[in-house]
């Protein structure tokens, strides 16, 4: 890694609650994510991997430690800048699709643009382009509820793509899909990573998915551990 990492994390700690009920979800994480790489954050449930992703995605603030995004220390950013950063630089793919069931596929996909204040006409144009990219442009007028699981996840990926993000955060992106559909969706995500240079951060407990990434980090009890430790523990 020659250039500055896209995201750089130093001694990241996150504690939930206080006093006797305090729970240390992260206990000192150091991590660098390079531009354009695909990184798997692997761990069992309760390991702290989701908390780590939430902090990386600036959805939550750490108790201590620093997250540097493109050389900028994010703890200094105000609420407004954080909102803008998430809106413009990040795309999100969640295990539960989080689609608005009664709204059209196009409206679901263009939600980040609506939040950014893009005019309706341009929203529709870019929305159709994103749907086309994932081969579901014909579903644009359908209600999100009428789609199959695989189609829904494609809609979610289109939504994550629409604002041309630097990073896509994917939280168990294939957890709700059968293996055939799941591998198709994985293929789409890695294709975006390689062909468009979008950094991919995947949170998963699926070893096979992790193996397809450039690099994997293992999280256990709020710390990054070497791989063999994880295997011993498992």
């Amino acid at each position: 890694m020659t250039s500055t990492p896209l995201i750089s994390v130093r001694d990241l700690r996150k504690t939930y609650g206080s006093g006797s009920t305090a729970f240390d979800a992260l206990r000192g994480i150091d991590l660098d994510i390079a531009e354009g790489e695909s990184l798997a954050i692997v761990g069992k449930s309760g390991s702290g991997k989701s908390t780590l992703m939430h902090l990386l995605a600036l959805l939550d603030r750490p108790t201590s430690g620093t997250i540097t995004l493109e050389g900028e220390e994010t703890s200094r950013l105000g609420e407004k800048s954080l909102n803008r950063t998430r809106n413009q630089k990040f795309g999100f793919v969640f295990q539960q699709f989080f689609l608005t069931p009664s709204a059209s596929v196009l409206d679901n996909v263009t939600l980040p643009l609506a939040i950014a204040g893009v005019p309706a006409r341009e929203r529709a144009r870019r929305g159709m382009a994103a749907l086309d990219q994932l081969g579901i442009a014909d579903k644009a007028g359908n209600k999100a509820n009428d789609l199959s699981g695989g189609q829904k996840q494609r809609v979610v990926i289109s939504r994550a793509l629409i604002n041309q993000p630097r990073v896509i955060f994917a939280d168990e992106p294939t957890g709700n899909l059968d293996s055939a559909t799941g591998s198709t969706v994985e293929g789409i995500l890695f294709d975006l990573n390689r062909r468009h240079g979008i950094t991919l951060v995947v949170v998963t407990h699926d070893e096979d998915l992790a193996a397809r990434c450039d690099r994997s980090v293992f999280v256990r009890d709020g710390l990054i551990v070497p791989r063999h430790d994880e295997e011993v523990a498992a």
């Binding site: 995605a57 959805l59 609420e79 998430r86 999100f92 969640f94 009664s102 939600l111 609506a114």
Partner: protein
């Protein structure tokens, strides 16, 4: 997110759960309907009274009479040579009507000298014997006192021209049949004969032209309205044979004052006149009771309507809390994607305003519809004796106030759920099952 997108989204969100929104809207409709209707009735009656007021007199004139000392149950009352029987005095209902002490020229001078009095005019007392048309049956007729600025509700023709040299009269419409006219239009332009007894006891007659026919009013006097030329002519006839030197007397006097000076100044003037031994009655005094009763009734009814609206606004709070609950994950997602808390608040509070707008507009429309049906139904039946009375009047300002007021209440009701949505933490919202 753009403001237009917030509004558009709030509109479509409001209709996501149609039944729930519909029921909440219905509750608001009931409140807005009641409020519009009560206001409409208040406005209808008020405007009728206001138009009738112009028929009775003008608001910068008070009617002044000599205060009659009547100590109840204190034995015989001393005879006053100036006491006259009044048929042309102040409108019925005024204290002292029926029998009163006449005003002399000295009284008028004294009144004119009183501080705050702009002008004084004695009301010449003319007592008619009868009115007759085309040698038909004679009927008794009283002459109303006509003050410049006053207008009567006309069924046909014009108001009398006070400055006209020729005698003119406006007849009450109740005399049409009796005098043998086909309708109001038929009477306008015709000539009637008025008879009176002069000071020698002889009956004399005078001719006058009917220029208009007055609608029967709720409050206005039932007499005919003469112009100045007619009153002067009749008065001259009445005084034929009266002893020379006997002072001219007046049943009452009209006193002009500065109505713009405020109620306190008017009351002070009335007090000064009372101290001088006169009774001064303004138009407001004569109508005050009626209007204040109507105002109170409208106020009470509005109170009920507002209680209904408060209940409806609790429905809005409930509806939106359920919506916030349902859309927890959606809100979480939008916040994760960078939607600010302020915009989340706006989304839900605008949704509340949309519900309020919908309910109030439907309620007002229903009230206007019902109001028109009821008004026209009543106008043909129990209110047919009161032409000119539109029971329910919808003033644009009132209607707009109701709609805007309900929207404001809805906004206030929406703040609680909207605040809860705005404060949601995206992560826990996304985990919410």
């Amino acid at each position: 997110m753009r403001a237009t997108d917030v509004v558009r989204r709030a509109f479509s969100n409001a209709f996501r759960s149609k039944l729930r929104t519909g029921l909440t809207v219905l509750a608001i409709v009931i409140g807005a309907f009641t409020l519009s209707l009560t206001n409409g009735i208040g406005a209808g009656i008020s405007s009728y009274i206001a138009s009738t007021l112009a028929g009775i007199g003008v608001d910068d004139v008070m009617t002044v009479t000599r205060t009659v000392e009547r100590e109840q149950g204190s034995g015989p009352v001393e005879y006053d040579p100036n006491q006259i029987a009044s048929t042309t005095g102040p409108p019925a209902g005024t204290p002292g009507a029926g029998s009163m002490v006449a005003l002399t020229q000295d009284d008028l001078d004294a009144l004119a000298a009183t501080d705050g009095v702009l002008r004084v005019q004695g009301a010449t007392a003319v007592t008619l014997d009868y009115v007759q048309h085309d040698d038909g049956t004679p009927y008794q007729l009283a002459l109303s006192q006509f003050v410049p600025g006053m207008e009567v509700e006309l069924a046909a023709g014009d108001q009398v021209d006070l400055d006209a040299a020729e005698p003119e009269i406006v007849l009450p419409s109740t005399y049409l049949d009796a005098l043998g006219f086909a309708d109001a239009q038929d009477a306008v332009g015709s000539t009637v004969t008025l008879a009176l007894t002069d000071a020698t006891g002889a009956q004399v007659t005078a001719e006058t032209v009917v220029v208009g026919v007055a609608e029967p009013g709720l409050i206005s006097a039932t007499g005919a309205v003469p112009n100045t030329a007619l009153v002067d002519a009749l008065h001259a006839l009445q005084r034929v044979g009266a002893p020379a030197g006997q002072d001219e007397v007046y049943a009452s006097a009209s006193v002009w004052f500065d109505a713009d000076a405020g109620e306190d100044a008017t009351t002070a003037l009335q007090d000064r006149l009372t101290d001088d031994g006169y009774t001064a009655v303004t138009l407001d005094d004569q109508l005050g009771t009626i209007t204040s009763v109507i105002d109170t009734i409208v106020l009470v009814l509005n109170g009920f309507a507002i209680i209904a609206l408060v209940a409806a606004s609790i429905g809005i709070i409930n509806t939106l809390f359920m919506a916030v609950q349902e859309r927890t994950r959606e809100v979480g997602l939008m916040k994760a994607m960078g939607l600010s808390s302020a915009r989340v608040f706006a989304l839900f509070s605008v949704e509340a305003v949309v519900i309020g707008l919908l309910g109030s507009v439907l309620g007002v429309l229903a009230a206007v519809g019902v109001g028109q049906v009821v008004s026209s139904a009543l106008a043909d039946t129990i209110l047919s004796e009161l032409p000119g009375l539109t029971l329910i009047v919808f003033e644009p300002v009132t209607v707009a106030t109701v709609v805007l007021g309900v929207m404001a209440i809805a906004f206030l009701a929406g703040t609680l759920p909207a605040l809860r949505a705005a404060r949601q933490d995206p992560i826990s919202s996304l985990r919410y099952e």
